[in-house]
Symmetry: none
Subunit: 196 residues, 4 copies
DNA sequence: TATGAATGAGGATTCATTCAT
DNA sequence: AATGAATGAATCCTCATTCAT
């Protein structure tokens, strides 16, 4: 039923259907037909609202990262000092983010990134921003040089736990994942406090 | 006259060509033609030495994991006590393992795993074995319960650093990655020693 | 409030947009969207003012031929005797007719004609009318039988020069084309005069 | 039935099927399926022997022009002086060239040329070569400047008669077409002889 | 009158697989 | 053992057409 102003609605619908399909069938078996069907629309509609399949995939990753970013920003807004690191960790393992739908798609996109400049770019931006956030949060408690190494370790650990989540279907609870990260950071901070 | 004993040679050639193609073009764009060409052979040959494309991919992942396992076993053979954790870490970041060819393919396979029982099975075995190795190596220095959490953290960190390696084309040196992991483990062990 | 009398305006707009699109993108790549866009209207509008794409194309060719015919009729009106042949030639190479927009579209339609009864019909009518005009103009100076052959040659030459115009983007000036035709006819008439 | 060395055979088959399809259905309705069917092969085969549809079309035009060229070269080989112009005319209206299959395809390609650099290039080469052949053949009988104009007229007339052939399905005999051209040239040569 | 949302058929293309040689 | 010819299903994409608003 054609109405005006459907664009934002349809785009959102199609992006959601894309993520659902990636989660269910994998990126390889995510076809425009499948996406269309999942959204209750025809295959051709993808090219009406997005340039083509690639553009839709790109937008889907964008939204995924935007949501995660929003989660981080929200939590950082109400945290100070080293609590900011905890906020970042919490955001990454919030129920809305650390969910199969997001995690599986995230993994699929990361696997494509080395061969897709557009995806690689989004990945790089996200990665750098996360690293920078962590370093800033640690900066007042830890010397910059060490903060950088710690940030690298924490970012890797977060990614590794997301990976685990995608691979070990549900065997890894957000809470466990969160604890491992908190523990990692706290040891670094504790060490520091002891030194002083 | 038919050459005898070509099978192991050809299989190895084709597996290598597969990994090379995945690294260069990605799993999606790795076709039997491309693999054949990379091995200097014809497209049809894959079905002669493997059941089909899927079987070849499966075997390629198997070899990848077998090589990593061998690296770990070799290093564990000459290490005792907590040194065994270091050996595991060293194995994962050895030049032969922490290389673009291996890391990119590894990521591609992991992304497929959630939708391929065969790949998922290999992944699970590898994952469990690594986890078990770490726990055993830590067991005499750390209580079992904590050892398990630490192993989870270390395994995640290793995976996260491999991911980083695949995504940040060469910006992450094996040595840096190794240091981050060693540091993580050493803090846990040091803490323990202090307690006692 | 519905605008009245838009029909002739819109139809003309759309026909012009069609010819513009054919000239710019070729008949194959002339889509209803493209035509609509060129006219500053929506794709669906074609079916409102014409039965469909094919009807619009048909009307576009009709207009093209009608304009050329008008040019011929105008010039014939003020010419007598063999001057009438010159008038026909002049009309065919008048700036308004011998222009890229018209010539390219004309060629595109001619290529379609063998597979479209409707276009073929228009083409046949135009062709016959031109031939008949030439024969009539020659009739008093040349025996009918020879006039027919000469008319065939002149008509072919005109078409061939239009073809050249479409293919040799602007390298052929109307004046040169005109001269070649005038020369052809004058030789026939001169010969005749000599004989008598 | 797969055999080795099929390439030249298949390529020729497919090119012939292409020309047949263009003649029968027009360039627009010439699909790879249709071509494959006409050749008794599957649609996919086009991409095995040619890069794609466009390449096949390009090769088809190439062959068309090559055949015409061969016809011209053959006849020029055994003609001297102004007879060479007659040889060129004869070649263009030889039964093998002035046939519906060739003429319709030729028209279809010419209509595409303004929007396809590759086709335009072939067209330009063919056109220039023909013009040059005519000028050379006339050069000893007519001053160069006039020879050029005459060549332009003759080339246009030949094209126009081909066009007529494509449009007036069989109503124009090769012999009539030939006569018109011969007459055109003879008048120019006769004039010249008279002058001297 | 006019839009643009939506469809679905049809097209080119890719590719794993089969198989005669 | 190895080739590469051939297939046909599956995919992305285009586009004329329809229709609710």
């Amino acid at each position: 039923m054609p109405k005006v102003g459907m664009q934002p609605i349809r785009r959102r619908q199609l992006i959601d259907a894309t993520l659902a399909s990636i989660h269910e069938h994998g990126l390889t078996d995510t076809t425009v037909s499948r996406i269309g069907a999942a959204a209750g629309l025809s295959p051709g509609i993808i090219h009406h609202y997005f340039g083509g399949k690639d553009d839709l995939l790109f937008e889907a990753l964008r939204q995924l990262l935007a949501e995660l970013r929003q989660e981080i920003v929200n939590r950082l807004a109400s945290a100070t000092g080293v609590r900011r690191v905890h906020a970042i960790i919490d955001a990454n393992f919030a129920a809305s983010q650390f969910a199969p739908r997001a995690v599986t798609a995230w993994l699929a996109f990361w696997a494509e990134a080395p061969h897709s400049p557009r995806l690689a770019r989004l990945q790089r931006i996200h990665s750098r921003r996360l690293h920078s956030n962590i370093v800033h949060a640690l900066r007042h408690a830890i010397p910059l040089s060490e903060a950088r190494t710690t940030a690298l370790g924490l970012a890797a650990m977060i990614d590794g736990l997301w990976l685990q989540c995608a691979l070990a279907h549900g065997h890894l609870t957000p809470e466990t994942a969160r604890q491992v990260c908190i523990d990692y950071i706290d040891r670094h901070l504790a060490q520091r406090r002891m030194d002083s």
